[in-house]
Amino acid sequence: MSTLAAAASTGEAVQFWLLGTVAVIGALCTVLMKRAVHSALSLAGTMIVLAVFYLANGAYFLGVVQIVVYTGAIMMLFLFVVMLVGVTAADSLKETLKGQRWLAAGLGIGFGILLIAGIGNASLKEFNGLGEANAGGNVQGLAALIFTKYVFAFEITGALLITAAVGAMVLTHRERTERARTQREQSEARVREGKQVPPLPAPGVYARHNAVDIPGLLPDGTPSDLTVSPTLRERGQIRDVSRESLAELKALERRTEDWLGRTSGEEPRPPSSGGTTPTERKEEAKK
C-alpha cells in the first residue's frame, strides 16, 4: 500500500473505531489503576494501538519505532522502576489536596472541549495523502529529511540523548561517602543497640518445611515473625503451618505407640488444610 488515499477506507474506519476505544480505555486505566504496574501495562497497550495508527497513517517507520522504542524500551524502563520503587502496596486514589480533583476534572474537560472545538472549527477539509511523499519509501523519505533539512536538530538530539544517559547515571549512581563498616563494627553495633544479638533464626520447622514463607516455631509452637523476610511479611504472604505440624507430631507419637504394641483410642484425624496425609508419609517411611 505504497499510495495512501486521502480519505480513509471503510476498513480503516472500522479499525479506528475498534482500536480507538481500546486506546481510550487504556489511557483511562493508566490514570485510574491503583497499582503502578497495571497503569504501565495499560499504557503499553495504548501505545501499541497508537503504533498501529501510525502505520495506518502511512508512518511505517514511526510505527515500528513506536513499538520498539516505547513499548519495548521505555515501558520496560518504567516497569523496572516500578519494581524498584513501587513494589509496596498500591497508592490510594484518595485525594489529599482540597478541590484538586474537581479543578483537575473541570480544567481537563474544559481543555479538551477547547481543543476539540479548535479542531472542529479549523477547516481541515482537503487531504492530500502521503502518496508522493512516501513514493520513494517512507524510511528513505524520512532519512532524506533528517540528514538534510533536520540534520542539526538530529545532531542535537543525539547530544541530548548522551547527556540524558550520563545524567541518569550520575543521578542514580550512589557515591560511597564513608568506607564500609567491617563485620566487627557491625556486630558491635548490634550488641550496642541490644535487640537480636545472635543471627536471625532460620525459617522452616524442624527442617521438614524449609520454604522461606514458613515461619519457624518457638519451643511452645508459636510462630516467630523474625524468621521470615520483611518483604513477605509486608505482602502478607506468610504461610502459618504451626497447627498442622503439631498435629503431625501427635500422629508420630501414636504410630510409635501402636508399633510398640500399645493399643489406644481412635485414629488421629489428619489436619484438613494443606500438607501431605500421614498415609503417604507411611509409604515414605517404608522406603
Binding site: 489536596l97 484538586q100 479543578l103 480544567l107 481543555f111 479548535g118 472549527n121
Partner: protein
C-alpha cells in the same frame, strides 16, 4: 526741610536698636539714651511744625520719598512719608506725650532690672507710631499699625513672669490681629479697585468708584479701627492691657496707640464720605462703645481698669465724631488731642498713686490720699475736671463740640446720637467722680502699718504737671476762633453742622447732666463711707464688673470652641487623613498575603495552574481566530 521727616522715625528706631541689642553695658545709661532720642524726635517735630506754620494753608503737606519697597508688577509700595496737618498734630502729640512719659518712666521703672529693655520697647513704639501717622500709603501705615501692636504686646507683657500679663499681651495682639485682617483686606480691595493704595490717588479717586466697593472698604477700615481703638466688638483686650506698667497704659492705651483707629477713619474720610452706610456703622460703633466703656468704668474697682473703661468711652466719642463726616472730623481730632493730655495725666496720676501705695490698684483700699500726695492730687484733679468737661477746661470744649455735631447729624439719628453722647457725658461725670472720691477723699481704707503713701519724686511729678497744664488750657487754646479746625480743614474738610438745638442749649444741657452725674456719684461715694470690700451690687454692676460678659462670651465661643475644633482636627488628621495612607499600605500587604496562598508548594497544584494557563491560551488563540 522735608528730609527731616525720616529723622522723626529714625531717632527712636535707632534708640530701640541700641537699647535692645546693646546688652548689659547700656544698663546704666540706657534710659537716658531712650529719653534723649524721644525728645530729639519731638524737637524735630517742633522744627517741622514751625516750618509748616510758615507756609500757606494749601502748601503745608510735605512728602519724602525714601525708596521703592515692594515693586511687583502693578503692585508698588513705596517707603514714603507724607506730613500734613493731620500727621503733624499726631506727631506733636506722640513725641510730646511720649517724651514726657519717657521722663516719667525713668522714675517709675527705677527699681526694675530690665529698665533698659523697657525703654527700648518704648522707643520702638514711638518709631512704629510715627511711621503709622507719617506713612503716605496704607501698606506702610499697616507696617506701623502692626508695629505698635507688637510694641504694645511687648510692653503689656513686660512683666512676663506674671502669667496674667503674658496672657493679656497675647490677647491684645490676637484681638488686634483680627482688626489687622480688616485693614489688610481693605488694602487688597483698594488695590483691586484703584490699582494702588497710596493716600493721594485713592482718596482722590473715591468719586469715580461704586458706592458698594467704598462701603466694603469703609467697613474693613472700621474693623481695623475697632481692633486698634478697642471699640465694640473688639474692645475686650483694653481692660486686660492694664497689666502693663502704668506709663505704658498712659502712653499706648490712653494717649496715642488706641487713637490710631480715629486717625485711620479721619485719614480715610473721603472714602467714608462717599459711603454713608459705612459712616452709619462707624457712628453706631462709636455710640455703643462710648456707653459701653462708661458703664464698665462705673463698676470697676481697679483704678486703672476704671480709667481704661473711660478711655474706651472717650474714644467712642471720637469715633462717633469721625463717623459724622466733615462736621465731625476736626472735633474728633481735637478731642483726641485734649484726651491725650488729660487721660495721660490721669494715668500718670494713677501710676503715682500706685507708686506710693506699693502697687495697690484696688480703689477700695485707697481713700483720703489727697493730703499725702498733694501734687498727684492736684494734677489728677485737673485731669478729672477736664475729662468730665468742666466748663473752661479742655474736655469741655472738645466734648461739647462733639455732642453738638452729633445733634447736627440731623433726623432721628441726630437725636439718638446726641442723646447717647449726653448720657455718656453724665456717666463720665459719675464714674470719674467716683474714682476721684474713692481715691483721694473719704477716710483712709489702707493699713498705715505696711503702706506709707508718699509723693512721687520730681522726675515723675513734673510730667504730670505739664500734662495737667495741657489738659487745662489746650481745649481753650484750640477753640479760640476755631484755630484748630482751620488748621485741620485742608486735610479733613470741615463743614458747619446745623443742629436742631442751639449751641447754647447743648452746652447748658451738658453742664446739667455733668452736675447730675457728679451729684449721684457724691451721693453714693462721697456722703457715706465706701466699703473696703466690694458689695455684691446690682445685676448690671456685676455684669459691668465682668466687662458686660464680653470675655465670657469670647471664652465660650472662641476659646472653648476653638480648642474643641483643634483637638478634633488632630484626631481626624491621625485617624482619617493619615489613616487613609496607612490603610492603603495595609491593604497592599493583605492582598499580597492572599496571593501567597496560591503558592502551596504542591507540584500538582502548580500543574493545575499551568493547565489553566494553557487553557486560557488556547481559548485566546481560538477567540483571535474567531475575531
Amino acid at each position: 526741610m522735608e528730609n527731616l521727616i525720616a529723622l522723626l522715625v529714625a531717632a527712636p528706631l535707632v534708640g530701640a536698636a541700641l537699647l535692645l541689642c546693646g546688652g548689659k553695658r547700656l544698663d546704666r545709661t540706657g534710659h537716658w539714651i531712650g529719653t534723649l532720642l524721644a525728645v530729639a524726635s519731638f524737637a524735630v517735630g517742633v522744627a517741622l511744625f514751625a516750618d509748616m506754620l510758615g507756609r500757606s494753608a494749601d502748601h503745608r503737606a510735605m512728602h519724602q520719598y525714601l525708596f521703592s519697597w515692594i515693586p511687583v508688577g502693578g503692585f508698588r509700595a513705596d517707603v514714603a512719608f507724607q506730613l500734613d496737618q493731620l500727621s503733624m498734630t499726631f506727631v506733636l502729640l506722640i513725641t510730646g506725650v511720649g517724651s514726657l512719659i519717657h521722663i516719667y518712666s525713668i522714675g517709675y521703672m527705677e527699681h526694675d532690672e530690665r529698665r533698659r529693655r523697657f525703654f527700648g520697647y518704648l522707643n520702638l513704639f514711638l518709631a512704629a507710631m510715627l511711621l503709622l501717622v507719617l506713612a503716605d500709603n496704607y501698606l506702610l501705615l499697616y507696617v506701623g499699625w502692626e508695629g505698635v501692636g507688637l510694641a504694645s504686646y511687648l510692653l503689656i507683657g513686660f512683666w512676663q513672669h506674671k502669667p496674667s500679663a503674658a496672657t493679656a499681651a497675647k490677647k491684645a495682639f490676637l484681638v488686634n490681629r483680627v482688626g489687622d485682617m480688616g485693614l489688610s483686606i481693605a488694602i487688597m480691595l483698594m488695590f483691586t479697585t484703584f490699582g494702588t493704595f497710596a493716600f493721594g490717588p485713592v482718596l482722590a479717586a473715591t468719586g469715580a468708584t461704586s458706592e458698594g466697593k467704598l462701603t466694603a472698604i469703609g467697613l474693613m477700615l472700621l474693623l481695623a479701627a475697632c481692633g486698634k481703638s478697642a471699640q465694640v466688638p473688639l474692645q475686650s483686650w483694653l481692660g486686660d492691657a492694664m497689666e502693663g506698667p502704668t506709663p505704658v497704659s498712659a502712653l499706648i492705651h490712653a494717649a496715642t496707640m488706641v487713637t490710631a483707629g480715629v486717625y485711620l477713619i479721619t485719614r480715610s474720610g473721603a472714602v467714608f464720605n462717599a459711603a454713608p452706610d459705612a459712616q452709619l456703622a462707624v457712628v453706631v460703633v462709636g455710640a455703643v462703645t462710648l456707653l459701653y466703656g462708661a458703664i464698665v468704668g462705673c463698676a470697676k474697682d481697679d483704678i486703672k481698669k476704671a480709667l481704661a473703661g473711660s478711655t474706651m468711652s472717650q474714644i467712642g466719642y471720637m469715633v462717633l465724631a469721625a463717623g459724622l463726616g466733615p462736621i465731625g472730623y476736626a472735633f474728633a481730632i481735637m478731642h483726641l488731642v485734649t484726651h491725650g493730655f488729660f487721660k495721660a495725666g490721669l494715668f500718670l496720676g494713677a501710676g503715682s498713686v500706685m507708686h506710693g501705695m506699693n502697687d495697690e490698684v484696688d480703689m477700695r483700699k485707697y481713700g483720703g490720699l489727697r493730703k499725702y500726695m498733694p501734687v498727684t492730687f492736684l494734677t489728677f484733679g485737673l485731669g478729672y475736671l477736664a475729662i468730665i468737661g468742666f466748663p473752661g477746661l479742655s474736655g469741655f470744649f472738645s466734648k461739647d463740640k462733639i455732642i453738638e455735631a452729633a445733634f447736627a447729624k440731623g433726623g432721628t439719628e441726630g437725636w439718638i446720637l446726641g442723646g447717647a453722647a449726653l448720657l455718656g457725658a453724665a456717666v463720665t461725670a459719675f464714674y470719674m467722680t467716683r474714682v476721684m472720691l474713692m481715691t483721694f477723699f473719704g477716710e483712709k481704707r489702707w493699713d498705715p502699718k505696711e503702706t506709707h503713701p508718699h509723693e512721687s519724686p520730681k522726675i515723675m511729678t513734673v510730667p504730670m504737671i505739664v500734662l495737667a497744664v495741657g489738659s487745662v488750657f489746650a481745649g481753650g487754646l484750640f477753640s479760640i476762633n476755631e484755630s484748630f479746625v482751620t488748621w485741620l480743614e485742608p486735610v479733613t474738610s470741615f463743614a458747619h453742622g446745623h443742629s436742631p438745638v442751639s449751641a447754647t442749649t447743648v452746652t447748658a444741657s451738658t453742664i446739667v447732666v455733668l452736675l447730675l452725674g457728679v451729684g449721684t456719684a457724691w451721693l453714693m461715694y462721697g456722703r457715706k463711707p465706701v466699703p473696703a470690700l466690694a458689695p455684691r451690687g446690682s445685676l448690671l454692676t456685676r455684669a459691668a464688673r465682668r466687662d458686660l460678659l464680653q470675655d465670657d462670651f469670647n471664652d465660650l465661643v472662641f476659646v472653648r470652641g476653638g480648642t474643641h475644633l483643634t483637638t478634633t482636627l488632630v484626631q481626624l488628621d491621625r485617624s482619617l487623613v493619615d489613616g487613609a495612607v496607612n490603610g492603603t499600605a495595609a491593604s497592599m500587604g493583605g492582598l499580597s498575603s492572599l496571593l501567597r496562598r496560591l503558592q502551596t508548594g504542591f507540584v500538582r497544584s502548580y500543574a493545575v495552574q499551568m493547565l489553566g494557563g494553557a487553557a486560557v491560551l488556547v481559548a485566546a488563540t481560538l477567540l483571535m481566530r474567531g475575531v
